[in-house]
Amino acid sequence: MKQIQLRQVSKSFGDVEVIPPLDLEIEDGEFVVFVGPSGCGKSTLLRLIAGLEDVTSGQVLIDGADATAIPPARRGLAMVFQSYALYPHMSVRRNIAFPLRMAGLDRAEQERRVDEAAKVLNLTEYLDRRPGQLSGGQRQRVAIGRAIVREPTAFLFDEPLSNLDAALRVGMRLEISELHKRLSTTMIYVTHDQVEAMTMADKIVVLQHGVIEQVGSPLELYRAPRNTFVAGFIGSPRMNLLEGAEAARHKAHTIGIRPEHIAISTRKGDWQGVVGVSEHLGSDTFFHINCPDFAAPLTVRADGELDLSYGSTVFLTPDLAHLHRFDDNGLRLT
């Protein structure tokens, strides 16, 4: 049982309550992603689990035992930092071996584990270099290597990919997912990027202002967002959230419809609008359509072959099966 539980955990910095009391359970072997806009307290939550910050109240349970007062090193967790936090004066080998050295393992065992981790992460030929001589992706792998050798109960990742360029990010995303499949160790991953959350997670925890808005699998969150915040945050491009007469017609304060659930036609449809900016991705095209009925332009996904010129009139038809309805508190109506 390598379970992590948070019970009524809260955190305040001085008078400012960053995280109001919250409960969360993380099962053994799960890949959990904390996602939310910057400043939502997701990193703080991770640091509370790691023990780098003290909880203001509540309990952190690891394997069923209260770990609230246990120092970070003895919680059996390994963390990968946003800046990688490699030790610049040590070689890659010594960086990866550092936690083992601190644990007092003998040299032969240190060597064995470092070589093993290096093989897994394709770092064997870089072992004698300094971190300063490595590329961003390689540094990231060293940081992961330093976490792996400890054979931790769980891995904690604090926005590990945000310093990498887009292409590398996609690659590292796959590598981390693959690592999770191979090690099947619990991983907690913090990111502000909902694409990372959707692609990697078994379970997503959406946070806003320190409050958990929704917990669920990526598809649960996509199909049934609990409120307008989650609806707008999960999915790319964002869900169109509409208020006013059209919403009232569906007996709701706000209705949400994803860009992929709107059909576009030049002849007939429910809503009439004028084509604004169009973004061509090749496979798809995203049109921004200005409708006189709605305040904000609607985003609509269409096939990449469809060509509509700026300013032409089009008709839109929402797929009612995928229409989301929310009340005046932003909560989902069923």
Partner: protein
Amino acid sequence: MATQHSQSVARMMMAPAVILLLGWMLVPLTMTLFFSFKKYLPLRGGDLGWVGFDNYVRFVSSSSFWPAVATTLIIVGGVLVITVLLGIALALLLDQPMWGQGVVRILVIAPFFVMPTVSGLVWKNMFMDPVNGFFAHLWRFFGAEPIQWLSHASMPSLVMIVSWQWLPFATLILLTAIQSLDTEQLEAAEMDGARPLGRFWFIILPHLARAITVVILIQTIFLLSIFAEIFVTTAGAFGTKTLTYLIFQRVLESQNVGLGSAGGVYAIILANIVAVFLLRVVGKNLDA
């Protein structure tokens, strides 16, 4: 530099400063060299002609030469050890968040603003005076016989005074270095199981290595030529005669300009050895 044109303009702009500095350096240097080959006794006949390397031989073979070199090295070494060790300790303390941080930091830096002559006199008269000094009162309060600081413990006293002056410099450089350490590195080390002492030894100290080198080299340059502190406290007595002080005595007290100049040339050679060393090491550190 971007173009040939901007390069030559830059040279012209720098020329006045370079020429001024060269003159500043070359005139005294040439005069020292000139006098070092002469027998020149201002009050006993003035310029008595060329004597070749006589002054150089006499300066080195004087019974005061090697003790003076030893004294210089002991003061430099002692002050370096004390300022670096205490500097690291103070920097670590000052890096901790505390109430009145700004005021405390200014107070720590304060000794650096006191002129060497003044601080030497303050230490001599207010702290180390065997009758009325603070230390004498302190010793008597505990029923002990006051120490005759500047005569019986002259070298430790001097090292103490000079360390007090240079500690702020070391602290300041080391504090800024500590503050530039990425906190995530310390947190990573904490997660990796390093205890506070381990974090200091494996993370903070290696990070400070460059700053410590800078402190050591810069201080060495300045400490090689300390003079005022010795002049106002012991006046070179009780085994506190450094190379600089020996030169001063040869030129002004013995009124032997030639001999003193030869000593000056030795001092220049010593300082240049250190300067080359400094440029090598510090320069390399700054590149990395």
